[in-house]
Amino acid sequence: MNGMLGKRAISSLVSLLALIVLVFFLSRLTGDPAALYLPVDASEAMRENFREIHGLNDPVIVQFGRYLGDLVQLDFGESLRKARPAIDVVLEAFVWTLWLALITMTLVTVAAIIVGSVAAFHVGRPFDRFASVLSLIGASAPDFWIAIIGIVVFSVSFGWLPTSGTGTIWHWILPISVLFVRPFGLILQVVRGSMITALGSPYVKTARAKGVKNRPVIFVHTLRNAMLPVITVIGDQAAALLNGAVVVETIFGFPGVGKLMIDSILQRDFNVILAAIMVTAVAIFIMNILIDIAYALLDPRIRT
């Protein structure tokens, strides 16, 4: 198992490096930050001065060398726009995103497994039909629409929840609910499908023949075997959330990393783009390792 994790770590590190190179050079191909930072009527002298101050005049390869040199010392550079260390800006935002992702995925996982399992156990019955329709609607409804409807109904009409922002626990309910919908729909479908297959397998028939009751059949015999594909999908969905929920963050004014990344790209704030990509990449890398461990715990065949 250690060997597997080691291999994983090395390949992730190689991917991270490739990502840095790619993003560094590609982002610099997309335009001059001086043109965006300074007002349209700023003179060439002012632009030149701006590029000089921020080292944008050097050849890109020199800039890259300098960036890597700083990076080794864990210096991610300054944000062009905010005149603060880029990593501070990113970590501040990432904490919000991490909590949002963590809470949402926990709720989604618990809910999807329970509803999916029950649906699988009652295939074709009203509960199953209802769960399937619900999950399809959830998986296909656009989140900006759910978000706006959520605000109109729960904040403006009923006055139960704040429209947006942060501050109290109530501020989290709408964003989490909106983020909940799609992964719930998807994971529910996978749980259901996987459970149906597992419930039809010979070992379940054997267990039933031995007289094991329904509940242990679902939760002890079937679920564990049905979980492998489910975990893969959970990992995918969690990775998407860690990248930032741009739409939800934008609508609810939630200070997460998704909106930060989009804004930095639009403003060509290179250091923030790179820092944000590295932080999320590392987070996803750690999450992948956790998923590998989960696989290994569930399925002894993978441990070797």
Partner: protein
């Protein structure tokens, strides 16, 4: 049981909201974007100026945007010319900064030099470009500015110079100190900025005790926040939401236009440019794609600008004549069939894409060969500023904002041959711009007026479209009317409480 829990939750939710109402004489203002900095020398950038100007930082002079007083004293009590090229400012006495230090002429000198420093890129400095300005402290409350060449509008330029204490380091600060009635008390990046009223402000104490700024990118959320009472003022909401009694429209000083690069055929032909102008049914946009109250533009600057020419009339929509003009030009060998690229910016203003699509269709109807391309801001900038794309003729759809009262902030860079965004190269226009820039009083006004008329009627420099309106939503608990300057500054002292 379940119902009880649900109701309890709902009640708790309402309680959690109540601090927004309970704040003592405080207001919450919801803006579309958070400033990256709260730096006084960047206050000409609108998202920073809205929070800083007149609240945290003050300037020597200020422009009266609510009445017609013109230039008013603020930190300077009076000013006059001493000699041909020197302006003298007499500073207000008894003024202190929020850090307790006294305000004097050295602070003004330092503020100017800091803004000009090449170690940082203070946005304010661009307004002083090309002018050699030397500040000289005469005594504690008097300062001279000697300029080369002479600057008739230096007192107007001083509306932009925010004053910081002489101890302020050159690098950008995150703890701005100013002489204004408010002080920055809290800044949670990504969430909110809070200003609190000072007790030792030199002027009349404003009614609002504190202001909490929050940021929501989505205009309908901003509108909803006023409706639910979570915020009191949303200076910019979309026209679609502006349907309640709390909403008002106001000219926001933005002018939308198509910049014509006249160096490329067929756009170098004046008949073609006239055809572009009369082929667009401007009135059809108002009250449909664009908000009611939008005005047809005959100049890049809004009518309240010095020298705006009332005799210049918008060309009436006349597609038949436009087609005829094109035919005429074609007969003379002008390549009118050449594909013209129309560049628009996504999200430039509400309804931008629809507006440019409609313009493309109207131009195509009279015989132009137009290809529309909607781009994001960085790509737009590559078309908007020199050096221009020279592979094909281009029309750039853009907006220009000058609420500062004088065309000098627009004319050079939009119409002078050397201007970074000028589409024309016209010796007479250059001469008028140079003369007007150096002139004062009535002569200045007359020269600008002549220039406005010349550009619109004879050169047909661009396709002027609309003076835009913005929409604000103001809650019942406050009394606030937006002005043409609300885009760039929002003085809390102008907010009353009901």
């Amino acid at each position: 049981m379940k119902r009880t829990i649900f109701m309890a939750g709902a009640m708790l939710a309402t309680t959690a909201l109540s601090p927004a109402f309970a704040q003592d004489a405080g207001v919450t203002i919801v803006l579309g974007e958070e400033p990256d900095l709260v730096e006084p020398c960047m206050a000409t950038r609108s998202n920073i100026g809205r929070i800083v100007l007149g609240n945290i930082s003050e300037t020597l002079t200020e422009l009266d945007v609510r009445g017609d007083e013109g230039l008013k004293p603020r930190l300077a009590e009076s000013w006059e010319m001493v000699g041909d090229d020197t302006w003298r400012f007499h500073l207000r006495e008894g003024v202190t900064f929020s850090d307790g230090s006294a305000f004097d002429a050295e602070d003004v000198k330092h503020s100017f030099e800091r803004a000009q420093s090449d170690q940082i890129t203070c946005e304010i400095s661009r307004y002083y470009e090309g002018i050699e300005i030397t500040p000289e402290v005469v005594d504690e409350h008097t300062i001279d500015f000697t300029t080369d060449p002479a600057q008739p509008i230096l007192p107007l330029l001083m509306t932009l110079l925010t004053i910081v204490p002489s101890e302020t380091p050159i690098e950008f600060t995150r703890e701005p100190v100013g002489t204004g009635p408010y002080v920055l008390s809290d800044w949670a990046p990504g969430q909110s900025i809070t200003l609190e009223r000072r007790d030792d402000y030199w002027g009349e104490a404003p009614e609002v005790a504190s202001a909490n700024y929050v940021f929501r990118a989505d205009p309908s959320v901003r509108a909803a926040m006023i409706a639910t009472g979570e915020a009191d003022i949303a200076p910019s909401i979309s026209a679609i939401d502006a349907t309640t009694e709390m909403d008002m429209s106001y000219p926001n000083s933005e002018t939308t236009y198509l910049r014509i690069d006249q160096s490329m055929a067929p756009l170098d032909d004046v008949r073609v440019r006239e055809a572009l102008n009369i082929a667009i049914d401007r009135e059809a946009f108002v009250g449909t794609i664009l908000a009611e109250g939008t005005e047809l533009a005959t100049a890049l600057n809004v009518p309240t600008t010095l020298g705006w020419n009332p005799d210049t009339k918008a060309r009436p929509y006349d597609p038949e004549r436009a087609a005829a003009l094109l035919e005429e030009a074609k007969a003379d060998g002008v390549p009118v069939d050449t594909e013209i690229l129309l560049v628009g910016r996504t999200g430039n203003f509400p309804g931008a894409t629809e507006t440019f699509e409609a313009i493309q269709s109207m131009l195509s109807d009279v015989g132009f060969n137009i290809r529309l391309q909607m781009v994001e801001v960085a790509e737009h900038e590559q078309y908007y500023s020199k050096p221009y794309v020279d592979t094909q003729p281009v029309l750039v759809g853009a907006q220009h904002d000058n609420s500062r009262g004088d065309p000098v902030f627009s004319m050079y860079f939009k119409y002078h041959s050397d201007g970074r965004q000028s589409g024309i190269s016209d010796a007479h226009a250059d001469e008028l711009i140079e003369k007007a820039t150096a002139a004062t009083g009535e002569e200045r006004e007359a020269l600008w007026s002549e220039l406005f008329g010349y550009l619109h009627d004879e050169v047909i420099a661009d396709v002027l479209l609309f003076h835009m309106v913005g929409h604000a939503r103001v809650g019942d608990s406050v009394d606030f009317t937006p002005t043409i300057a609300t885009n760039s500054q929002l003085q809390l002292a102008e907010i009353g409480l009901n």
